[in-house]
C-alpha cells in the first residue's frame, strides 16, 4: 500500500500517486510521493533546497531533465491520464490546462522575439483572439503582473529586461490561458516583497474568478502561510507532513516542520539571533534505514532508525511521518 496524503476527495484537479523519481545513476530523489489538489484549491509544497520539490513539479509537467526519470507512479490531471503520456498530449495540456512558472524564467523565453509578441502569440493560438485583442489583452496582463510601462515592455526582448521583469512576463504568459492548475516553483522568490505580494494577490484573484488551482513551491513557510489552504512538507524526497495551513502552523506534528517554522520569515525587525537547522540534508540516493531526518533531529531515538517510518493518517486531513508522533504530541508547537 502506498502512503497517501489525505486530501479533498471531490474531483481533484491533480492526483499524484506513488510517484518515484530517480536522477543520474538510478539515485532515488523522490520517494513514492502521493498527494492531490482539489479544484480551485491552493496547496503549498515546502522544504529546504534539495528536498525534491522541483523534481516533483517537473514530473507533473512532463519536463524532467534528461538525467531524471519517473520510475513509477501515476499522474492524473482532471481525468486525463498523464502517466506515460506522449509528448503531444503533454504539449497540449501545458500552456492551456496546466501552467507553470519557475525561478529561472529567462530560460523559458525565446530570446529572439519580443516578450509582447510571445504573449500575444500564445493568446492568438491558444485562445483564438484577434491580433488587436491579443495585443490589448497582453498589455492588460503585463499591467496586472505589476510591470511599469506595459506598452513599452511589450516591444522589448527578454535580454532587455531585468530578472524580476522577466519573471513577471512569464507569470503573465502562464496565466494568460486561465489554466486549471498553475504550478509556481519558487516563482516569486527572486521578486521584491511588494511585487511578490501583488503576484500572490493576483493568483488569489484568479482562483476566485477562474477557479484556478495553485501548487506553490517555496522553501519559506511564510510565503505559503497567507496564500495556501493546505501545506505539504517535503524532506529528502519524502512528504513528511501535510494538513491545513492553519493546523500545520499552529500545531506542527513533525520535528522537521517545527524546524522550518524556526527559520521562516517572521516579519519583525529587532536584532536577534537567527535560527538555523543544524547539519545538511542527506545526499540524493543515500540509503537510510529509518527516518531520513534523524541525523538532524533533536528528538531522534534508536526507534527512529530501526525501520521505515510510514506516513501516518492523523485524521482531519492531516498526516505525518514520525516514529514518535505520540511521544511528541504537544511538544512541537
Amino acid at each position: 500500500m502506498p502512503d497517501s496524503v489525505p486530501g479533498p476527495v471531490l474531483s481533484p484537479v491533480l492526483e499524484v500517486t506513488d510517484l518515484r523519481v530517480s536522477v543520474g545513476d538510478h539515485l532515488v530523489a523522490v520517494h513514492d510521493v502521493s498527494f492531490s489538489i482539489g479544484r480551485g484549491e491552493s496547496v503549498g509544497l515546502v522544504g529546504e533546497s534539495g528536498s525534491g520539490k522541483t523534481l516533483t513539479c517537473r514530473s507533473v509537467l512532463g519536463l524532467l531533465p534528461a538525467t531524471g526519470e519517473v520510475d513509477h507512479g501515476r499522474i492524473v490531471l482532471g481525468g486525463t491520464e498523464l502517466t506515460g503520456a506522449t509528448r503531444r498530449t503533454w504539449n497540449e495540456v501545458r500552456g492551456t490546462r496546466l501552467g507553470a512558472v519557475f525561478q529561472d524564467s529567462a530560460s523559458y523565453l525565446n530570446p529572439s522575439l519580443t516578450v509582447g509578441h510571445q504573449l500575444a502569440e500564445q493568446l492568438r493560438v491558444k485562445r483564438g483572439l484577434s491580433r488587436a485583442d491579443a495585443h490589448r489583452r497582453a498589455v492588460e496582463l503585463f499591467t496586472e503582473v505589476g510591470l511599469h510601462d506595459p506598452e513599452g515592455v511589450f516591444h522589448r526582448y527578454p535580454h532587455e529586461l531585468s530578472g524580476g521583469m522577466q519573471q513577471r512576463v512569464l507569470i503573465a504568459i502562464s496565466v494568460s490561458c486561465e489554466p486549471e492548475l498553475l504550478i509556481a516553483d519558487e516563482a516569486t522568490t527572486a521578486l521584491d516583497v511588494v511585487i511578490q505580494a501583488e503576484i500572490l494577490d493576483l493568483l488569489g484573484r484568479l482562483r476566485e474568478t477562474h477557479g484556478l488551482a495553485l501548487l506553490l513551491v517555496t522553501h519559506d513557510l511564510a510565503v505559503v502561510a497567507e496564500t495556501c489552504e493546505r501545506i505539504l512538507v517535503m524532506y529528502a524526497g519524502e512528504i513528511v507532513e501535510s494538513g491545513t495551513t492553519e493546523e500545520v502552523l499552529a500545531r506542527p506534528r513533525h520535528p522537521y516542520t517545527q524546524a522550518l517554522m524556526g527559520v521562516a520569515t517572521i516579519g519583525t525587525w529587532e536584532r536577534r539571533a537567527l535560527e538555523v537547522i543544524p547539519g545538511q540534508p542527506p545526499s540524493v540516493g543515500e540509503d537510510m534505514p529509518g527516518c531520513r531526518f534523524a541525523p538532524r533531529c533533536r528528538f531522534a531515538t534508536s526507534a527512529c532508525t530501526s525501520g521505515p517510518v510510514p506516513l501516518a493518517d492523523l485524521g482531519g486531513g492531516r498526516a505525518a511521518r514520525c516514529a514518535r508522533l505520540d511521544a511528541l504530541e504537544g511538544a512541537l508547537a
Binding site: E48, S49, G50, H148, D149, G152, R156, E160, S162, G163, G164, M165, T189, A190, L191, D192, V193, V194, I195, Q196, A197, E198, D201, H219, D220, L221, A222, V223, A225, E226, L249, A259, L260, M261, V263, A264, T265, I266, G267, T268, W269, E270, R271, R272, A273, L274, E275, V276, I277, Q280
Partner: protein
C-alpha cells in the same frame, strides 16, 4: 548568545562621531544613452543618492529590481563613473583616483564585493584554496606562506574547516557552503568595507540565516563595515542596523532599521513592510490599504515624485519630486507627507 554580545553602538548619539568608512554624497550615475530601438539605459540609474556606512555597522539596501542598488555598489568600487556627486572611502575622494591610482586601489582589496549566485561568480575550475587566495595574489602584498595562513584563517572565520575544504571545487559544495567560500574570498584581503549584492537570495531559509549570522559575526570580530543589498526584507531582518530604501534610482528613506520598518515615513517603505510575508500573525497594515485607489489620477512619467504612480497618498504637491528631509531619530525621507501619511490613511478608511 550572539544577540547580546558587545559591538559598536550604532544608533546612539555617539554613532555620528565615528568617521564613516564609506560616505556617498549626492551621487548620480547614468549608463550610456539608449541604443536605437531599445529602452535600456534611459534615464538615471542613480539620482542624488547619499549614504554613510561606519566601521562595524551593517547597512541594508532594499528596493525593487532596477532601482539602482547594484549601481551604487559598482560605482563604489570604481566600475562605473558617476555623473555627479562624491564617493569617499576612509576620507579619500575616489573621484580623484585615476588610471594607475584607481587600479592600485582596486587591487588592494579594501572594498570587496560578494554576489548573489556563487556558482556563477566562482570559477568552477578553481579549488577553494585557489579561490580564496586569488584576491591575495592580486593584491600581491603578502608572502606565499603568509597567504596560506590567511586562506586558512579566512575559511575558519566563515565556519569552514580548511582541511576538508581546500581541495574542493564549487560543484562539490552546497549552496550555503559556496556562499561561505565567497565570503572567505572577500574577507581574505582584510577589507574595510564589504558590499554584498543579494548574498542570500539564492539560498533557502536555513542557509540564509546561517550566512546572515556569519556576516553579523564578521562585522563585530573584524570591525568590518557591511552593506547588504536585498530585494527582500527577510534578508536584513535580525542583523542590519540601518536601512536605505531605494525606489527608481533614489534613496527615498533611510534610518535605523527597526524605526524605519516599524514606523515607515515614506509610503513606499510602508508598502514594503505591509507586503512582507510572515509566519506569525502580526498586526499590521495590509498592502491593499496602501495601493492607489482605482480612480487615482494618471501621473506623467517625469518630473513628478518617482513613487506618485503607485502612491495611495499622491496629491497636487507631488507633481514635484520631493528632496530628502531630515526627521528626528537620525532618519530621512523624500516625501511631501513624510511620516504623516498614516493620518491620511485613517481618514481614507473612515470616509
Amino acid at each position: 548568545m550572539t544577540a547580546t554580545r558587545e559591538r559598536p553602538e550604532v544608533s546612539g548619539p555617539e554613532h555620528t562621531q565615528v568617521a564613516p568608512v564609506l560616505r556617498v554624497s549626492d551621487l548620480s550615475v547614468s549608463y550610456a544613452p539608449p541604443r536605437k530601438g531599445t529602452h535600456l539605459g534611459t534615464g538615471a540609474a542613480l539620482t542624488a543618492a547619499s549614504l554613510e556606512v561606519r566601521p562595524g555597522e551593517i547597512v541594508g539596501i532594499v528596493g525593487e529590481t532596477g532601482s539602482g542598488k547594484t549601481t551604487l555598489a559598482r560605482a563604489t568600487v570604481g566600475l562605473v563613473r558617476p555623473a555627479a556627486g562624491r564617493i569617499e572611502l576612509d576620507g579619500q575622494d575616489m573621484g580623484s583616483l585615476k588610471g594607475r591610482a584607481l587600479r592600485e586601489f582596486r587591487r588592494s582589496g579594501q572594498v570587496q564585493l560578494v554576489f548573489q549566485d556563487p556558482l556563477r561568480s566562482l570559477d568552477p575550475d578553481l579549488t577553494v584554496a585557489e579561490l580564496v587566495r586569488e584576491p591575495l595574489d592580486i593584491a600581491g602584498t603578502l608572502s606565499r606562506a603568509e597567504r596560506d595562513v590567511r586562506v586558512a584563517e579566512s575559511l575558519r572565520l566563515v565556519g569552514l574547516e580548511p582541511e576538508s575544504m581546500l581541495g574542493r571545487r564549487p560543484r562539490q559544495l552546497s549552496g550555503g557552503q559556496r556562499q561561505r567560500v565567497s565570503l572567505a574570498r572577500a574577507i581574505s584581503t582584510h577589507p574595510k568595507l564589504l558590499f554584498c549584492d543579494e548574498p542570500v537570495s539564492a539560498l533557502d531559509v536555513s542557509n540564509r540565516n546561517l550566512v546572515l549570522s556569519l556576516l553579523d559575526r564578521l562585522r563585530s570580530e573584524l570591525g568590518l563595515a557591511v552593506v547588504i543589498i536585498a530585494h527582500d526584507l527577510s534578508s536584513l531582518a535580525g542583523i542590519a542596523d540601518r536601512v536605505a530604501v531605494f525606489y527608481r534610482s533614489r534613496v527615498v528613506e533611510q534610518g535605523p532599521i527597526q524605526d524605519v520598518l516599524q514606523r515607515p515615513a515614506h509610503p513606499y517603505t510602508g508598502l514594503l513592510t505591509a507586503s512582507a510575508p510572515s509566519v506569525a500573525h502580526v498586526d499590521r497594515l495590509r498592502p491593499e490599504q496602501l495601493r492607489p485607489q482605482p480612480d487615482a489620477r494618471a501621473w506623467p512619467s517625469h518630473g513628478v515624485c518617482v513613487f506618485a504612480p503607485r502612491c495611495r497618498f499622491a496629491h497636487d504637491a507631488c507633481a514635484d519630486q520631493p528632496a530628502p528631509v531630515t526627521l528626528p531619530g537620525d532618519r530621512e525621507a523624500a516625501c511631501h507627507v513624510a511620516g504623516e501619511w498614516r493620518t491620511h490613511l485613517t481618514t481614507t478608511k473612515e470616509s
